[in-house]
């Protein structure tokens, strides 16, 4: 579906289902230089099992127009405007990587929008190395390769993705990032690095929270999730075995099970 947010077209995947007032809403927020499609194997299941689904494309990503949000607070403000535009409240808000920081900030600033919070592949603060930032500025293809290198568990680079038969996941990640306009990747990575208020934000969140950790995540390693877990008042963790940072596509069923159990608890 498309709607206008801050004067620009915004897109959200709904699982091709109508939004019903009688149903709870699950919001899915993607990571840097990605779009809604990273959630396909979770969001569509929710949509066909009694949930309204809003898997957004953040501004300047995928099918959403508009200027890029240059900071995590700005992304959270945009998300608030998006949800306000649809009169959505008390949603289960699920974010991956940069999307997890956005969801965290949203939960701390607009508690009325977030009934539950799920952070998938998160680190608070989220360190982004200078080498990656430099590559994102000067050689995007090199930066994409670095990200793919760090975003899959070791065996993910061999493949054998029997969950989505015929899909070469490292190549798919490269292709998805290549679809972004030049500068999107650098913008997103810089926004992640600059977000230093995450633990303060986490301390303000009262909503039940879930931190989903990829056991072999090199982008946001398991130990990097511990600070957020400690700061959130009402949080628990779930570890996805053998999975890397791109666990929504690498271990789609395990991530779905974790989110489904949390959302319906």
């Amino acid at each position: 579906m498309k709607l206008t947010v801050n004067g620009h077209t915004a897109y959200a995947y709904t699982g091709t289902r109508p939004l019903l007032q009688s149903q709870p809403t699950a919001v899915f927020i993607h990571g840097a230089a990605n779009d809604h499609s990273v959630w396909s194997l979770q969001s569509r299941y929710f949509a066909f099992h009694g949930w309204n689904v809003l898997a957004v494309d953040l501004p300047g990503h995928g099918q959403s127009d508009g200027p890029l949000c240059t900071s995590v607070p700005a992304l959270a403000e945009w998300m608030a405007a998006f949800l306000d535009g649809l009169a959505v409240k008390n949603a289960v808000v699920i974010g991956h990587s940069m999307g997890s920081l956005t969801a965290l900030e949203l939960a701390s600033t607009r508690a009325d929008l977030v009934a539950k919070l799920a952070l998938v592949g998160t680190a608070v603060p989220m360190a982004v190395g200078d080498a990656l930032l430099d590559a994102a500025l000067n050689n995007e293809e090199k930066a994409r390769r670095m990200i793919v290198e760090w975003s899959y568990a070791p065996m993910g680079h061999i493949g054998n993705n029997q969950k989505v038969p015929g899909t070469w996941l490292p190549g798919n990640s490269m292709a998805l990032m290549r679809r972004m306009t030049k500068g999107v990747l650098r913008n997103d990575l810089a926004a992640c690095k600059a977000y230093l208020g995450g633990l303060d934000a986490a301390a303000k969140v009262e909503a039940p929270s879930l931190v989903v950790i990829g056991e072999r995540d090199m982008m946001t390693p398991p130990k990097a999730a511990q600070a957020a877990l400690g700061a959130l008042r009402n949080a628990r963790a779930e570890t996805i075995r053998h999975a890397g940072h791109n666990m929504t596509v690498e271990a789609p069923d395990a991530v779905l099970r974790a989110l489904w159990k949390f959302a319906n608890a």
Binding site: S37, H49, Q162, G166, R179
Partner: protein, 433 residues
């Protein structure tokens, strides 16, 4: 991210989690048991992914699909019954009656048959252009054009396409460029790196290398924007709700994999040209050695070409690595590792002498295939391209005396000896026969 030689051996294949088997098992099963009713419904509805029925997907085939996608630098692939099935699947996924294709006129005879004779019966027309003439590609575009199609090396005269220039024209027109890369394989060229959007292979050829099974592979770069203004207008199969699958809009479902999704969810479901798991396994065995085989194929070919070049009974040799070939500069640009092991040459003789040449070969097998470990030979005008008119043959660079060779992995000296003996026998027949 691994290099091509490594991907050839490993991509898509881990030790079997159930048994520890190191080689990829052959999952010889038609169907797969559901965990429960909810799992069954979710799989059918694409809420969850996995195997349902081997017409749609199979674990052995999936290894092959990942492997070719990795080698090509694509996002994924679909294994089908033959190269022709791959071409057909791509076309019927992208368009329907009333559509138009712009294609190189230098095509494999089977592809030419489909485009020139069969598809018009279903309302899809093709305009054929010289592959090297970028202006001709542009001039052939119509409002209903939906695809540009060519071969990385045009069969059998090895006429090249300037991929980057033709891709640019295709994209101006809002259509993808699809290339048949059968003769070159990802070892010699990765067309996505030059702007192609879709690649397919007859996996019967160099990819497997042993000529024991028929198979095709369709690979997507994930780059074409089906939701751009032109994309939406040209490709409703991908950009509009599909009533045959819960009103799914494939390009919204997957930003990168819409084309392959529709190919699998509609094309394999409805047309059913799937690959047998045993075939997938056979092709996988071949791909493991693709880089070393291709290196040898190319090296042997260079020695054979050098021999033929010096032989007085041989006229033109249509090999792009030769300076006199019309596309030599393009070959240097696109094929730094070498072009291919399939090429043709013209005998300075009659049709009878051509027949005598083929009949006197001992190592070269006379058959309708290329890309085998064994060296092969055929006379295109009377076999693979026999349904083309004389004019069309001439435009594709084929004469009555054209002989096509596929150079195998034997010792090059033995191949040259075999050719020398057959040439001598043909000369003895004389021009009057």
């Amino acid at each position: 991210m691994f290099e091509l030689d490594t991907l050839s051996v490993h991509a898509g294949a881990r030790p079997d989690p159930a048994t520890g088997a190191r080689a990829t098992p052959i999952y010889q099963t038609s169907s797969f048991v559901f965990e429960d009713s909810d799992h069954a419904a979710a799989l059918f509805n694409m809420e969850r992914a996995g195997h349902v029925y081997s017409r749609l997907s199979n674990p052995t085939n999936a290894v092959l699909e990942e492997r070719i996608a990795a080698l090509e630098g694509g996002i994924g692939a679909i294994a089908v019954a033959s190269g022709q099935a791959a071409l057909h699947l791509a076309i019927v996924t992208l368009m329907g009656a009333g559509s138009h294709i712009v294609a190189s006129r230098a095509l494999y005879g089977g592809s030419h048959n489909l485009l020139d004779y069969t598809l018009p019966r279903f309302g899809i027309e093709t305009t054929f252009v010289d592959p090297w003439d970028v202006d001709a590609w542009r001039a052939a575009v119509r409002p209903n054009t939906r695809l540009f199609f060519g071969e990385t090396l045009g069969n059998p005269g090895n006429l090249l396409i300037d991929i980057e220039s033709v891709a640019a024209v295709a994209h101006e027109a809002g259509v993808p460029l699809m290339l048949d890369s059968t003769l070159t394989t990802p070892y010699l060229i990765r067309p996505f790196e030059h702007g192609a959007d879709i690649v397919f292979h007859s996996a019967t050829k160099f990819l497997q290398g042993h000529g024991v099974v028929i198979g095709g592979l369709l690979v997507d770069s994930g780059r074409f924007d089906w939701l751009s203004d032109k994309g939406r207008a040209h490709f409703p199969t991908l950009s509009a709700p599909y009533h045959g699958f819960h009103d799914m809009v494939f390009a919204e479902e997957s930003s990168t994999a819409a084309f392959l999704l529709r190919c699998r969810r509609e094309g394999l479901r409805d047309f059913g040209a799937c690959m047998a798991p045993m075939s997938a396994w056979q092709i996988l065995q071949g791909i493991e050695t693709l880089p070393v085989r291709m290196e040898r194929h190319v090296a042997n070919t260079r020695k054979v070409v050098e021999f033929l070049r010096s032989h007085p009974f041989v006229g033109s040799i249509h090999h792009p690595e030769l300076p006199e070939h019309r596309d030599h500069e393009l070959a240097k640009k696109y094929f730094p590792k070498g072009t291919t092991a399939v090429f043709s040459f013209d005998l300075k003789g009659t049709r009878a002498q051509g027949k005598a040449f083929i009949d006197n070969l001992r190592l070269f097998s006379h058959l309708a295939n290329v890309g085998d470990a064994k060296s092969l030979v055929i006379h295109p005008a009377s076999t693979t391209h026999s349904r083309m008119s004389t004019d069309a043959l001439a435009k594709a660079g084929i004469t009555e005396g054209t002989i096509r060779l596929s150079i195998g992995l034997e010792d090059a000296k033995d191949l040259i000896d075999d050719l020398a003996r057959a040439l001598k026998a043909a000369e003895k027949v004389g021009g009057a026969k």
